[in-house]
């Protein structure tokens, strides 16, 4: 079953690669556009991902589980949420960077509601992004957006976290 899935994925990716190659050779412009999109996005991510994963690696070796448990675990209380919102504020990239970080936090003992808060906050209140937003949309827009979305993220994350924890839900990667 697993091998089959891998084969399908491999076939799909090679077809895609062949399509791009053929498009560039034959000058098929939709294919060229898709290829351009692919490369520009890949470069964008390659600027961020290696650094993000190195930092995750350092986090895994240096930060003790007890420490994460104490500050972000089941007994952490409200301050835990403040910590992850601040951490999310400094996150760069987008959700795709937040997922691996959140996963590492979870494995080190952070509770579910805290990691959902982190993911949500990484979406809405990254500091560099918000500054950029304010310069195009105006301060008032950014301010209202943050004031509304942070409480919403908190409430929904706490609800979802508690809901899943009550059902003894364990996060299972890939399932």
């Amino acid at each position: 079953m697993k091998i089959q899935k891998k084969t399908i994925r491999f076939l799909a990716m090679s077809t895609y690669g062949a399509f791009l190659l053929a498009s560039f050779l034959l000058g098929f412009s939709p294919g060229k556009q898709i290829g351009y999109n692919f490369f520009s996005f890949s470069i964008e991510m390659l600027k961020i991902l290696p650094c993000a994963f190195i930092l995750i690696g350092l986090f895994e070796v240096w930060v003790k589980k007890e420490k994460v448990e104490k500050h972000l675990g089941p007994e952490s209380g409200f301050v835990g949420y403040v910590w992850v919102i601040l951490l999310a504020g400094t996150t760069v990239g987008g959700l795709y960077v937040a997922f691996p970080v959140a996963y590492s936090l979870y494995n080190k003992g952070a509770k579910l509601s805290v990691i959902f808060t982190y993911i949500g906050a990484a979406g809405i209140c990254r500091i560099p992004m918000t500054i950029f937003e304010a310069s195009f949309m105006g301060l008032r827009f950014s301010f209202i957006r943050l004031m509304v979305s942070i409480p919403l993220v908190l409430v929904s994350s706490i609800w979802l976290g508690n809901y899943l924890e009550k059902r003894n839900y364990k996060i299972m990667a890939g399932k």
Partner: protein, 159 residues
């Protein structure tokens, strides 16, 4: 983006001074994790490249500027959920649309779903948190984005 590289470089340096072995382990972990998630990232990049071709910026501008704000919000939140754009592309686009007279409410629906709802990041998110959590989180985020758009609309007197 430079400050991220500088911060990472400094962290590795300090870590190496404190403990070489641990640093080597950290880099190994980083590499392993990166390779493990790479296929999911590739899938996502392929989807992004195709979707961005099918839904170009010009099309988004056209639909967001719809006269009916309600229809505008429907399109904005759908596009925002489906596509993936870095902030430095999305906000200038929104700035242009704003000058063209598109309402704050519609743009809020667009940017918020863009940031919080990820149909294209599904392959990556699922790999870490599983299908169930991924779907619930995205649904909640979608509703939240609509609510945020409405509040923005209220404060800007667009309702």
């Amino acid at each position: 983006m430079y400050y991220l590289c500088i911060a990472t470089g400094l962290s590795v340096l300090i870590s190496a001074i404190l403990d070489r072995k641990k640093t080597a382990t950290a880099l190994k972990i980083a590499w392993k994790k990166f390779i493990a998630i790479l296929p999911a990232f590739l899938t996502m990049l392929i989807l992004v490249s195709i979707i961005l071709f099918l839904i170009p910026d010009t099309m988004i501008s056209q639909y967001l500027g719809n006269e009916s704000r309600f229809i505008g919000i429907v399109f904005a939140s759908s596009f925002g959920s489906i596509t993936l754009m870095p902030g430095f592309v999305a906000y200038p686009l929104c700035g242009i649309l704003l000058k063209k007279g598109v309402s704050y409410m519609v743009l809020a629906a667009f940017t918020t779903t863009l940031m919080m709802v990820g149909i294209l990041t599904y392959p990556v998110e699922k790999e870490y948190f599983g299908v169930k959590v991924t779907i619930i989180r995205n649904l909640i985020s979608f509703c939240m984005a609509l609510l945020i758009a409405l509040v923005i609309g209220f404060f800007f007197g667009e309702l």
